[in-house]
């Protein structure tokens, strides 16, 4: 193998349990986003656009869909004969290898993979966030500073800081302390879960961490604090662009609807920084004579006969005559039949919403305590004239006329 300057390791094994039924069959990085993407398209495309051509994708929870989606890596130009994208599932070995116990352990179990490329730097990424970032700038800054580890951070508000891992730094952006979800934050620099390590330091600390019996084998909880207490030089890399965690139903919905804001600083139409995705080859979208489509994103394979406002339609969605879709995400292959109404909802893949069904509720009419996004799980049928209120998570077929 030719040596690489930097190898990226993408942690994609998480369940994303707060997304409920949306991740009951697929891992979180495989969750559809933005009409034609999956969450993992963002870190993968960022790698390609940043000139990183060797990416290990660590999978564990429900990997089938993700493996299938990534395939040879061709859509991201990562089907390289020297490097490229590699799926790295847990495996059996002689010395107790097995399920990935934590983020650090997952990388530890794949040290051999990194060793093959003997890189100078290792970039650790997660498949949970929507953002466009030039990792090469972060690596340059890391290299110039001589740090052992650089952590990408985002400035958040002090209130929000209580929900993040917070980096406390001196005036030179050197980290002196890391606090996980502090009650009284000293700084507002939130970790984005993106790390650049010197390869030798990463290897050393992961090996040591593995020997500690009480370690949870987690980067944030164990490895970073261990490095800090050993006085390793650790710095933050400040990122000021659009970045969104899509870990909950509401944040996933939010991050999608953000795309309808023409002034958003996440420009997916930027030809210099394309977000690549696997396209299946559906025919162009059709908007009928009587359709009304406003403030929406629509992609290939969709047929719209009804009304669409503030919504995102993924591939191959049909909205029949008289149906109304507002403030909703309709995932691939779903059908919204005649006269059905879908508001403030996420309709997962291949769902059939039968005629006259009414799903979700407008926050203006629902009390704010009861309001929330309604989610209908994949491949379900919502029967004729069924009614589903706001803030419901539907995991089974809904019968004709049923009220939930």
């Amino acid at each position: 193998m030719k040596n690489k300057k930097c190898v990226a390791m993408l942690l994609a094994g998480g369940q994303g349990s707060r997304l409920g039924v949306l991740t009951s069959k697929i891992a979180k990085p495989a969750v559809p986003y933005g009409g034609k993407y999956r969450i993992i398209d963002f870190p993968l495309s960022n790698c390609t656009n940043s000139g990183i051509d060797t990416v290990g994708v660590l999978t564990q929870y429900k990997p089938l869909e993700l493996n299938d989606y990534i395939g040879s890596g061709k859509p991201w130009d990562l089907d390289s004969s020297n490097g490229g994208v590699h799926i790295l599932p847990p495996y059996q070995g002689l010395s107790g290898e097995g399920w990935y116990k934590g983020t650090a352990n997952a990388i530890y179990q794949n040290l051999e993979f990194i060793e093959r490329y003997n890189p100078e730097y290792v970039l650790i990424l997660s498949g949970d966030h929507i953002y466009k970032m030039d990792y090469s700038k972060m690596i340059e800054e890391h290299e110039a500073s001589g740090a052992a580890c650089t952590i990408a951070v985002l400035e958040v508000s002090m209130e929000e800081a209580t929900r993040f891992g917070i980096m406390n730094t001196d005036e030179n952006d050197v980290i002196y302390e890391f606090e996980e979800k502090p009650a009284n934050p000293k700084s507002n620099l939130a970790s984005m879960g993106i790390y650049v390590f010197n390869w030798d330091k990463l290897k050393k600390y992961l090996t040591e961490d593995e020997k500690k019996e009480n370690s949870s084998n987690d980067f944030g909880k164990d490895v970073i604090p261990a490095m800090l207490s050993n006085n390793e030089l650790m710095r933050v890399y400040r990122f000021n662009d659009y970045w969104k965690d899509v870990g909950t139903v509401n944040s996933l919905w939010d991050a999608n609807l953000d795309l309808l804001n023409p002034k958003l600083d996440l420009n997916l139409a930027d030809k210099k920084w394309r977000i690549y995705s696997r396209n299946v080859g559906f025919p162009p979208q059709y908007v009928s004579e009587n359709a009304v489509v406003e403030n929406s994103l629509v992609t290939d394979g969709c047929e719209i006969y009804g009304k669409l406002d503030f919504s995102i339609l993924f591939e191959n969605v049909t909205v029949e005559e008289g149906a109304e879709v507002e403030y909703s995400l309709i995932m691939p292959g779903a059908v919204i039949k005649k006269g059905a109404k879908v508001r403030y909802s996420i309709i997962a893949e291949n769902v059939i919403v039968e005629e006259g069904a009414d799903i979700g509720g407008d926050p203006a009419f629902v009390g704010s305590d009861d309001w929330g996004i309604t989610v209908v799980g994949d491949n379900l049928t919502v029967g004729k004239n069924a009614q589903i209120q706001a803030n419901k998570m539907i995991t089974e077929d809904v019968k004709e006329g049923e009220k939930i």
Binding site: K36, N279, G281, Y286, S288, S296, L297, T299
Partner: protein, 370 residues
């Protein structure tokens, strides 16, 4: 049918001159069609959907845009170790003349010979149809035919000159092939010909020696007695690119649900080069009715009865009707377009009015700024 049993050959420059204004810098095969395709996507996908893994594309001139489009063949799953996609431009050496399909086939004689396939399927790039080639080849084998012509029924006005008009027996054996006009409904060849490889090689050699020019007119049409020729009916949508007007009509036909369901048959999807555009964005003032639209468009104006290709921008106040806007066309504020065909990257300035008619569309050239 084993994958290697059939090799496909597509004539990319077939009838280029019928779409003159759109083929000044490209071949017939790479003329954009239907919001996200090039014409070659249809014969290519037809072949691939029939399990064909070896396709040669015969080109004569203007093939740069075609090369750019097909690349290694990855989008049609034709980047293969065995077989795959071959672009077959004319050789400079050896080719003494290049007048018609006979010379073209003679130029790729070695490719056909070494294809190791029992059957060759010849396709023209100027016909738009989603054809079940697998079924046609099976019939060819069952009929023990020498040559099988896929045909459709329709009026002669729809087809270009020199299209083969077939007279058929009840069992679909072709008894007569005419090249001249006939009244009423006729059976016409839709440019897909199935023929055994060895027979094709023999035919090419003889026709080349006799200095014949067209495989269809000079060999097949005159060979009804000599060869066992059968027809296979394609009973679905077909359109020939028989002029700018018919090109416009065929695009507009996609606004009909039944045409879409036939052209974009779910069992036989049409593949094309991906562009990684974002989905199309409909703005707050968008009024879009009866349109077929590719990805990556940004629409803030009024668009009615149109085909919009990938990356088209229609600004606020603009009104576009009955038009075909190819990739990356920009329509400025308050511009009014009716019966316009805008080639790639055209830019129509603020407040401009461009009007064509049903029969005579206003054409904006590639990269032209109006």
């Amino acid at each position: 049918m084993k994958n290697s049993a059939v090799t496909g050959i597509i004539f990319a420059n077939f009838n280029d001159d019928l779409l003159k204004k759109l083929t000044t810098n490209r071949s017939m095969a790479s003329v954009p069609f239907g919001a996200r395709y090039r014409l070659i996507d249809f014969p290519l996908s037809n072949l691939v959907n029939a399990g064909v893994t070896k396709v040669g594309i015969v080109t004569k001139e203007n093939y740069r845009s075609l090369m750019d489009h097909v690349g290694s063949g990855i989008y049609w799953d034709l980047d293969r170790k065995n077989g795959g996609l071959y672009l077959l431009p004319p050789y400079i050496t050896g080719a003494k003349r290049y007048r018609g399909t006979v010379d073209a086939l003679n130029g790729i004689r070695d490719y056909i010979k070494h294809s190791k396939s029992e059957y060759i399927v010849l396709c023209n790039a100027d016909v738009l149809a989603n054809v079940d080639i697998s079924a046609a080849v099976k019939k060819h084998i069952k009929n023990e035919a020498d040559i099988t012509l896929v045909y459709a029924k329709g009026s002669l006005a729809e087809v270009p000159d020199e299209t083969m008009i077939l007279s058929l027996e009840d069992n679909n054996r072709v008894t007569e092939i005419g090249l001249d006009s006939k009244e009423g409904e006729v059976n016409f060849s839709i440019g897909i010909t199935i023929i055994g490889r060895d027979l094709l090689l023999k035919i090419i050699d003889r026709a080349y020696d006799e200095e014949l020019s067209s495989l269809n007119c000079d060999v097949i049409a005159r060979g009804v007695k000599q060869f066992k020729i059968y027809g296979v009916l394609h009973d679905e949508y077909v359109a020939f690119m028989n002029g700018i007007d018919s090109y416009h009509t065929a695009n507009m036909d996609l606004l009909k649900a039944d045409v879409r369901s036939q052209v974009f048959n779910k069992k036989r999807p049409v593949f094309t080069k991906t562009r990684d555009d974002m989905p199309t964005r409909y703005g707050i003032d968008a009024k879009v009715t009866n349109c077929v639209i590719g990805d990556g468009c940004v629409i803030n104006g009024t668009v009615k009865n149109c085909v919009l290709f990938r990356g088209v921008k229609v600004e606020k106040g603009a009104v576009v009707e009955n038009s075909i806007l190819m990739q990356e066309t920009c329509v400025g504020k308050d511009a009014v377009l009716d019966y316009v065909i805008a080639d790639k990257n055209a830019c129509i300035g603020e407040g401009m009015t461009l009007k064509g008619t049903t029969e005579n569309q206003f054409i904006v050239n590639k990269n032209q700024i109006v």
